[in-house]
């Protein structure tokens, strides 16, 4: 077994753009679930909309800031559409509606009727929209080695996207940290603990929930852009499993904490990579084929999610007293 290579892979996974994107999506979900107690099972829908909004408007010729605004606008509208019918109803209704809405986005996106716009199920190629982002990079072209890791400076899976991705994660964490200590954040926590009590204090619970849904959704959309910049926009890779992995990450790190989503994402992807690399080099082909090892990794994820929720619902960093998990 080649431990150097395996550990390099695992270390690389800690900093990967995908890890940053999932961390960012989990920060958004943390505002929904950890702070406010909203059961959003459509985070992948926000991400996919953000990705489509950014990619399609860039292909249409808009500059990068305008494309970013389009992506954010898409997610705001999506959050409003989801929130208006459901935020007054019981929590699991929001769960069903958000998961359904995310599926609608995916099904419509992969439909052959929209091939000209979304590229149907084969999606939009990365090279068609990542030019404007790469042009912003201050680095010279070429490849840089830092420690054992070697990536290109600007192209696709680059140092540049890593830098931007993790800077965005840091910004989002800072935002959550400030929000939890603001009067606004305290009202959200109050809604999570006891909606009726907050209502009796004269707060407009519906409006607060809507603001939380929109804010978390916008962060989700930005996460979607970070996710697709090193690859392509493929609707089928951004379906329900993605939402569930974001949930696993949030619950692993600890809901209602500032660093939980970041820690959760790093552990999730590094552990998955570790399990898969070790199994690839130790388990013979006759026992498990390569693609079966892949699937075995996801089975482990599912079982981990079940165990976490049953035995340690506060996750690694969470506080059991501030357990957001059973609110309506």
């Amino acid at each position: 077994m080649d431990w150097t290579r395996i550990l390099t892979n695992v270390f690389g996974e800690l900093l990967a753009p995908t890890t940053a994107a999932y961390a960012l999506a989990a920060v958004g979900l943390n505002i929904h679930f950890g702070l406010t107690g909203l059961l959003n099972f459509g985070q992948a829908g926000f991400m996919l909309l953000g990705a489509y909004g950014f990619a399609i408007s860039t292909i249409a010729g808009l500059p990068i800031w305008a494309a970013l605004l389009v992506a954010i606008a898409c997610s705001v509208v999506f959050a409003l559409i989801l929130g208006i019918p459901t935020l007054k109803l019981r929590g699991d209704y929001l769960a069903i509606v958000t998961i359904a809405a995310a599926e609608i986005v995916r099904i419509v996106g992969r439909s052959t009727a929209l091939t000209d716009l979304t590229g149907a199920s084969s999606g939009l190629r990365g090279n068609s929209y990542k030019e404007s982002f790469q042009a912003l990079s201050p680095f010279p072209d070429g490849t840089t080695d830092i420690g054992p890791l070697s990536y290109s400076n600007n192209a696709s899976n680059s140092w540049w996207i890593r830098l931007v991705g993790w800077a965005l994660v840091a910004l989002a964490c800072l935002l959550v940290w400030r929000l939890t200590n603001s009067p606004w954040g305290r009202v959200l926590k109050g809604i999570r603990e006891d909606e009726d009590a907050v209502r009796s204090l004269g707060k407009n619970v519906y409006a607060y929930k809507m603001q939380a849904l929109v804010l978390g959704g916008v962060i989700g959309a930005v996460a979607g852009i970070v996710y697709v910049l090193p690859r392509a926009v493929q609707p089928d890779s951004m379906g329900r499993p993605m939402t569930f992995f974001v949930w696993t990450i949030l619950l692993l790190g600890g809901a209602a904490t500032v660093w939980g989503p970041v820690l959760g994402s790093m552990i999730f992807w590094a552990a998955l990579m570790l399990i898969k690399s070790v199994m690839r080099s130790t388990v013979p082909d006759t026992v498990m084929r390569t693609e079966q090892i892949e699937q075995f990794g996801w089975i482990v994820v599912g079982v981990t999610l079940m165990m976490l929720v049953i035995f340690r619902p506060q996750g690694l960093l969470g506080d059991k007293k501030e357990l957001a998990i059973n609110v309506r």
Partner: protein, 481 residues
């Protein structure tokens, strides 16, 4: 405490239900046996290390096999001509890997038939030795966009020969296949409306079988079970294993699949959900546990059976004509079985003591417990019967869609939620009404929107209902916020 006589009665009722289920399944092979066609006269190509196969199945717009259509296959191994057999299937054996051009001779099509997507003829298929590639030519009214845009499948993908509109990736059989092979777009005629409405009724009644468990489990325990779709897949996959691996007759395999699915429901409640209820784990927590379970189960299916579609029965189904409507015999039988079982369930809920107890628990568990009903036993029964019904739904759905796959239940899950919410969460008859409406909406929406968007239509309805009548059609208006 309950007098012993009552227990006997409830047990008898349960056994009666089981017997009914088995008896219904017993009818299955009788009819299917008569339905199976004589088999293809042309020797189907079998891929081995020296040969590769290019194949496909042709269906007319109405879903009947298109017989005697000529296709030419040209490529590195030379040119050859093949003709589609009595089941509409054709296959060509080639001895070299590479790109092959498949041309369908349009003049050989049956009278009145046209290619749905003329731009895709001829098309290129890449094959490797030892595997097969599919070239699918959907027939029907030509559409502007062309819905058969995806070309030949990758070398390793097994084609679903029975399905004229199958996506070569086979990853989303629930979403992308149309059992009736009807096209979208085209003009709306009464014939098509009738055809789609019938398909909707069949689909709806199968969906109802799957949703009743979801609704009853929600009613009795308050749990939104996101792993219920995997119970449906379990039924389909067990039937596939029974027929294709163990070579059992379809009847035995189907009955076994339903029984095992029921057993899995019992085991789940006994070892997972009951302990969680005893630990007083909250409902939201349990909901996330169901999601973890769904992920684990889906990838377990994929681990053992791969990601391609699995055909329970490989013979092409025969079609029957009812007035203006063409249906496969499998659909007709599925619908009959579904209707009988749904009737049985309705009788159980209304006419038997256990059934009334179930509804009482569903209404108000605390009050039911206070009046002497053993709530835990009812919940165990609901899990067992619900999972068995979902399994039966999965078997029939697998026959109706002509294939099952690891994510069949997952794609149906949201439709089931839509059906259950539409009918009124927790009410058994609501699930029935809701499923029929959703089934009709899904199939009828084909008439106006592209068929790969039809599930989206049902989900939009779900959101609209929550906006205007969140308690559903049959639910009682009460505060649910």
């Amino acid at each position: 405490m309950r007098p012993p006589a009552t227990m006997d009665r409830s047990r008898a009722a349960r056994q009666g239900l089981l017997a009914l289920l088995l008896a219904l399944l017993a009818c299955l092979p009788l009819v299917l046996g008569s339905a199976s066609p004589a088999g293809a006269t042309t020797t189907p190509c079998a891929a081995d290390p020296e040969t590769a196969c290019i194949n496909g199945t042709l269906r007319t717009a109405a879903g009947a096999p298109a017989v005697g259509v000529t296709l030419t296959v040209e490529g590195p191994a030379g040119a050859s001509t093949v003709t589609s057999g009595p089941d509409g299937r054709w296959s060509a054996a080639v001895t070299e890997a590479g790109d092959y051009t498949v041309t369908l001779q349009e003049e050989s099509l049956p009278a009145g038939e046209t290619l749905r997507d003329p731009a895709n003829n001829p098309r290129t298929v890449t094959v490797e030795l030892g595997s097969s590639g599919a070239a699918l030519f959907p027939l029907g009214t030509p559409t502007a966009g062309g819905s058969g845009g995806s070309g030949g499948s990758g070398p390793a993908a097994t084609p679903a020969p029975g399905d004229s509109s199958a996506d070569p990736e086979g990853a989303e059989p629930g979403v992308d296949t149309t059992a009736t092979g009807s096209s979208s777009g085209g003009s709306i005629t009464w014939g098509r409306v009738a055809q789609q409405a019938t398909a909707g009724l069949v689909f709806g009644s199968l969906l109802a079988l799957a949703s009743i468990g979801l609704s009853l489990i929600f009613g009795t325990t308050g749990l939104s079970n996101f792993a219920h779709g995997e119970q449906v897949t379990l039924g389909g996959i067990l039937a596939y294993v029974g027929v294709q691996t163990l070579h059992l007759p379809l009847l035995v395999a189907g009955a076994l699949a339903v029984a095992l699915a029921g057993l899995s429901g019992y085991v789940q409640d006994r070892f997972l959900w009951h302990p969680l209820r005893r630990r007083r784990v909250g409902m939201t927590q349990q909901l996330i546990v169901t999601i973890g379970l769904a992920i684990a189960l889906q990838y377990t299916y994929q681990f053992f059976f791969g990601a391609s579609s699995l055909r329970i029965v490989t013979t092409s189904p025969e079609t029957v004509r009812l007035g203006p409507v063409f249906l496969t015999q499998q659909s007709v039988i599925s619908m009959v079985i579904a209707a009988l079982v749904l009737g049985g369930v309705a009788y159980f809920l209304v006419g038997t003591r256990t059934g009334r107890a179930t509804r009482a628990v569903s209404d108000n568990p605390a009050l039911a417990a206070a009046s002497g009903i053993s709530v835990d036993r009812i919940i165990r029964l609901v899990w067992t019967v619900g999972a068995a019904l979902a399994g039966l739904g999965g078997v029939l759905m697998g026959l109706y869609l002509n294939a099952t796959a690891w994510n069949m239940g997952g794609t149906l899950l949201l439709l089931m939620f839509a059906a259950v919410t539409l009918g009124g969460l927790g009410t058994a008859f609501g699930a029935l009404v809701g499923s029929l409406v959703i089934g009709l909406v899904v199939e009828m929406s084909n008439l106006v929107i592209p068929s790969d968007m039809r599930y989206a239509g049902a989900l939009v309805i779900l959101i609209v209902i929550l906006l205007f009548r969140p308690q559903g059609i049959l639910g009682r208006a009460e505060r649910i916020g």
